[in-house]
Symmetry: C2
Subunit: 291 residues, 2 copies
């Protein structure tokens, strides 16, 4: 399997879907601010993860583009709000000026709100599955994105600034902030593809573990990468006095944790055979990346 080609094909499909969907213009120029961040590139990891999981279960990932791309909208809104002056106050993202730097703070708040809302709109346009399945998938996505998941994790992150937090607190924080949306992607893909309960159990564990490995790698990159490679300033965790896997365990131990967690994640896919090969490659990509 040529994984690079696999990934690029799906990334192009996601980008095409998002561009096409954003051609339907709303009533104001908040659309421009929404498009600025949504169509600014990015790895499209969450939608591709959803598609690859659906494929691991035997379905065609292409069939679930609306659900997949809704996840990218949720991810993008979270970046816009996270970059705001009152939050992380970042000037650059994906190598470009952040949303509020271009459109102003008020419009950036609305662009995030608009993308979060549009995410649900688009997901509910997924038409080739049973409505009851769609209700379940979108409901679970909302749970993963909200105060039980991503938003909750970001709130914990706020509270964790300027104080030392424990390894356990850090885990809860990341399970919410980053892990929950990976779980939404993997479980969403599994449900849409009609996975068995047993498959869903194994895939959920897989998602939890790659979410953890991804976050450890993220903390490592913040100290070892360059701003060019990362497309955003490095060292921001230290600047903001944030507890990270590196600050808590040191660089070498953090590296070892990322490797072991990835191995454990891959073991969850043993029963899926050849069809899970792209999913395995994505797991490796997420935990040994340059940006």
């Amino acid at each position: 399997m040529d994984f690079q080609q696999y990934y690029d094909t799906r990334k192009k499909l996601v980008n095409n879907f998002l561009e096409k969907r954003m051609e339907k213009r709303g009533i104001s120029n908040v659309d421009d601010a929404m498009k600025y961040s949504l169509l600014a590139g990015g790895k499209r990891l969450r939608p591709i993860l959803l598609m690859a999981t659906a494929e691991a279960v035997g379905a065609n990932g292409y069939d679930f583009l609306p659900a997949a791309c809704g996840l990218e909208m949720i991810h993008t809104y979270s970046l816009i709000h996270d970059d705001l002056p009152c939050m992380d106050n970042d000037d650059y993202r994906r190598g470009r000026l952040t949303n509020h730097k271009v459109f102003g703070e008020a419009m950036a708040v609305l662009a995030g709100d608009g993308l979060l809302t549009l995410a649900f709109e688009v997901m509910l346009e997924q038409r080739n599955v049973k409505p009851s399945t769609l209700v379940e998938v979108v409901h679970e996505t909302a749970m993963c994105a909200g105060n039980f998941g991503m938003v909750g994790g970001q709130a914990l992150d706020l509270d964790a600034e300027n104080r030392q937090i424990t390894a356990k607190e850090l885990k809860t924080l990341h399970e919410g902030k980053t892990g929950a949306m990976f779980i939404a992607a993997v479980r969403g893909g599994a449900h849409l593809a009609g996975a068995t309960d047993e498959q869903i159990l194994a895939l959920t564990r897989f998602a939890e573990l790659i979410g953890l490995a991804f976050q450890i790698e993220d903390d490592i990159l913040d100290v070892t990468s360059t701003a060019e490679e990362l497309g955003k300033p490095i060292g921001s965790d230290e600047k903001n006095n944030k507890s990270t896997y590196v600050s808590l365990f040191g660089l070498e131990t953090a590296r070892k944790m990322a490797d072991e967690t990835t191995k454990e994640a891959l073991a969850c896919l043993d029963s899926f055979g050849e069809k899970a090969e792209p999913l395995r490659e994505i797991a490796k990509l997420m935990t040994n990346r340059k940006n």
Copy 2:
């Protein structure tokens, strides 16, 4: 019919549902910020509108509390974000300090994000309707709340500050900012209750008209009410150089417009008979209110 009792009963049901739902705590204290604004009182107009519309079509409004209360969460999130320093920069709302004044800006952004997300989660928990109907209702709610509706209207509002806008622009702005969520409430209630196409057509027109009348009345109250009655500062439109129906047409003409629009709205309900009596009373309440 004792309308006051009708309204109070439903308001209590909405409040109970919201309080009960918020007992399910997420992983962080963003829940406290969410609850602060969500459980701060308020008229609960949108959920009661949904229920009264369902009743006008012959269903039991109580049956649709999850869908109804999702609308209140969307409304509340929009108020939190609207009050932010980068938006309207208001210190008081519903007679209490605004969310960011109590929890800080970053947490207020997250509280809004959390409520918007939870709104979809809760709506998708509506279990006594066909999943295909629920998908349709929640999809339409997202459309009304997003860049085609409320968020779009708020973006137009931003652009309209400090410049004179035309009556036509003002109408588009309000159709988005306020009207769209009334349409979501009325059409949502109608769909959930199994209304006919003809009924939905009449109710949609009704919703458009009461939305317009409500907004005109809102502009009137901003100049004629007191801060105590309104629970928020008066005169803020003039302070922010906002175009309003009063600034464009004068107070007397605005009053006449509100009255005529309300009459036209009521005419849309003619074929619904006795069962639409609460809906008629709500329309009158919305357009002749103290706060």
